[in-house]
Symmetry: C3
């Protein structure tokens, strides 16, 4: 028999296995974003996910809008001769009784001028609600990002 | 039967479950600090914990002193119009035979001027001794922080 | 019976246990590097490992070359009155069918002037192939590092 950690979606207690799974989820998700794999990145959200940032009056809603927003951001970065890296960590993982998972984390965005220097761009707090999809994998159903440099 | 990873406090070998638990512990602890939840943060230390930093001649000792120090720091930050984020990672987790856990990690402190820019404030090495409390949870019994910018 | 996560080298599926093990591996490896433990650091690579960086025309090959390169780097840092910290995270861990493990991660290098300030030095992407040694531990057999500031 297998002794692999129990990843059954009905689990509602924190577990080491869930924590590692959430870390792997974010590593893959942020790498897709930085690779400009806009559609694959959008697919890590639920169909009707919301993404709220302080610089927009309303949350972006749904995968098409998410993919379009990231494609636009990458075009602007390329035009400016810059690269971004999204480095997320300090994951406070709190399963809900209904099987969803609240994750509050820190996300540092680094910017590099190609041919120049690298530096901190943004320091953010990311509050996500993760849910299980039909295949048992994790998706973001709601994300709220705040920035330390904004009041 | 459950196949959850063994988190029994008597374990003295490194385990994936312990590593994830330690990560969760730090994520929660640092978020409490940055949220200025001074008392809850102090409660992640043992009653008689020591906290040594290079800028003080003697370690801070005990929860009351820890809570007071962090409350003071947050008041100074607020007065300066700044926010700090403590981002800890690179956890080298080494259980001791007695059940305590040595953890050597890196801690980056970011500072943001509210209405301005974000940048690296401090690069630190954090050496902790973690112990189990009566409920089986982790507490810091001794912390020593060094800063890369100091001789 | 034990319920510890299965770390058997023949496993080819992603597991929470593998993810945590890889994180511990990198934490220890990067700390050895920053401590200038050049030989111990080189021993975290296979005998014939390759290490490719954008600033060299050919990869460094083998432990002796790796140890020599890091000893040289540390001497240069000491002469300049600086310290580096290698902070690696966002580990996208993908086991191969043959038991090797592909890991794509982000590595931020911080620099501190001793008596001065700390800042971001480099933002890198690190692509490793990890393999099991005779004792069942992980070693890097091939590393490719790219830098965001280079074209």
């Amino acid at each position: 028999m297998t002794t692999a950690p129990d990843l059954a979606p009905e689990a509602t207690a924190w577990s080491a296995a869930l924590h590692a799974e959430v870390q792997q989820f974010y590593a893959h998700q942020m790498q897709l974003l930085d690779l400009a794999e806009a559609q694959s990145w959008a697919d890590t959200f639920t169909e009707d996910a919301t993404f709220a940032v302080p610089t927009l009056p309303e949350p972006v809603r749904g995968r098409a809008g998410l993919a379009a927003a990231t494609t636009r951001s990458h075009a602007e970065l390329a035009a400016a001769g810059q690269r971004h890296r999204h480095f997320l960590g300090m994951l406070d993982v709190r399963p809900r009784p209904d099987g969803a998972v609240d994750v509050r984390s820190y996300a540092i965005v680094y910017v590099s001028d190609i041919g120049g220097a690298s530096r901190v761009h943004r320091v953010c707090v990311c509050e996500d609600v993760l849910v299980r999809d039909a295949d048992g994998g994790l998706k973001v159903s709601a994300r709220t990002v705040t920035r330390d440099d904004l009041a």
